[in-house]
Symmetry: C2
Subunit: 240 residues, 2 copies
């Protein structure tokens, strides 16, 4: 099969692209079922097996989830799911640690060098920076700075309140679906400001997490730096 532009692309990848477009545009909303594999097959004039391959690709990309006997649903960043997928901090008994977000501050500024590189922005581009403290059982636990391209989230800076789980907001208000992230970790000594906020001694060892989050088609949409004081806690990474 030859596509309109002359390049040879498997049919299932063409179908996948069409499905992604409908999800990106909001025609198929988060948490809602997409058409059945048979319906997709009929609409695009392919067999069920081919429609299934297209859906399987989206499952692998964390864009949809299959529920046997029910249907296939557009991924939804609920608070719970977002923690399960993107929060990697666990306690001594290997349970995921729940945090609350206590204080916030949001400003628009020119992107710095790290932000321009991680978010793939041109010089002079603006970012919205959100600074916040996350607490565990009421005590400061993580000091976090979240940066997003201002152009991608119009009006976000003017909001009076921001939810703890930002990806839900990105998705529901801006149609930006975070599907993947990379985190770069280092151990650093707490400087005075961080030590004061986290209520630890200056020089205490902190885990510094620098995250870059990616949306559909690999587009970087957020970077954040988190400083954590991990007393009786750890970060969990799964290899392959």
């Amino acid at each position: 099969m030859t596509s309109p532009d002359g390049s040879r692309r498997p049919r299932y990848l063409h179908v996948r692209g069409q499905l992604v477009e409908r999800i990106r545009s909001g025609a198929w909303a988060p948490g809602q079922p997409i058409p059945s594999e048979f319906d997709i097959a009929r609409e695009f004039g392919v067999s069920q097996g081919t429609a299934r391959m297209a859906v399987t690709a989206l499952v692998a990309e964390n864009v949809v989830v299959r529920r046997q006997g029910l249907g296939t649903y557009v991924c939804e960043h609920t608070q719970e799911e977002e923690y399960a997928r993107f929060s990697s901090v666990f306690d001594g008994e290997r349970r995921r640690i729940a945090t609350d977000t206590q204080s916030r501050q949001a400003v628009v500024a020119g992107a710095n060098r790290t932000e321009r590189r991680d978010l793939n922005l041109a010089a002079g581009a603006k970012v919205l920076r959100i600074r916040r403290v996350r607490t565990r059982d009421g005590t400061p636990f993580i000091l976090e700075t979240v940066s997003v391209p201002a152009a991608l989230f119009p009006g976000l800076a003017q909001r009076e309140t921001l939810p703890a789980t930002l990806y839900e907001l990105y998705q529901k208000s801006y149609g930006v679906l975070v599907v993947r992230a990379e985190e770069r970790l280092t151990a650093i000594a707490a400087d005075r400001a961080a030590a004061k906020t986290l209520r630890v001694a200056a020089g205490a060892p902190l885990l510094r997490i620098e995250r870059t989050a990616f949306a559909l088609e690999g587009r970087p949409v957020e970077c954040r730096v988190s400083l954590c004081y991990l007393a009786d806690a750890h970060y969990l990474a799964r290899l392959k």
Copy 2:
């Protein structure tokens, strides 16, 4: 289809199990091609599509790799591949850091509490503990203690030399194929001994990595603790 014990299992999972058994037993050696999908289909009396599903499951489990036009090969832990899969430390330019292993020391001892939990060992079981220092450009970089069940690797303690890439040894000499690992990370302050070995100041922030490695069917086969001084370097984790 009903299997001999009466449970209903998809045929492709039955085929997958048979393939795993041949790899585990060494009948199909690391780095060697397994039979083609058509040959597998013929042998087990299933269609190519079903044989393909069985192979796809093994690909997802990191047991085999497909090479288009060539065949499907049993995964091999070569030095290069092992670094690419299990080494997560990168330099400031985001290149993977190569390390050399400079000094080693191996002892057999009773498993401690952490080892018993991570390796799923009974009280009184013995482990082989390997202590070693890994260097970067000649300077100490990672201080590492590797623990494996002594019963699983007979004769390993008596070896005069050990390679830098242990998983290659586990696989080639003992038929133990590491397919997955979990790493638990914390930031700690260097104690005197670690500081001296790594040539940093006592109290310097170190990244502590506690790894558990799993073989086929989820069996834990190794745990290791690594202390890294990450000057101009970071640990990379990929989320989903």
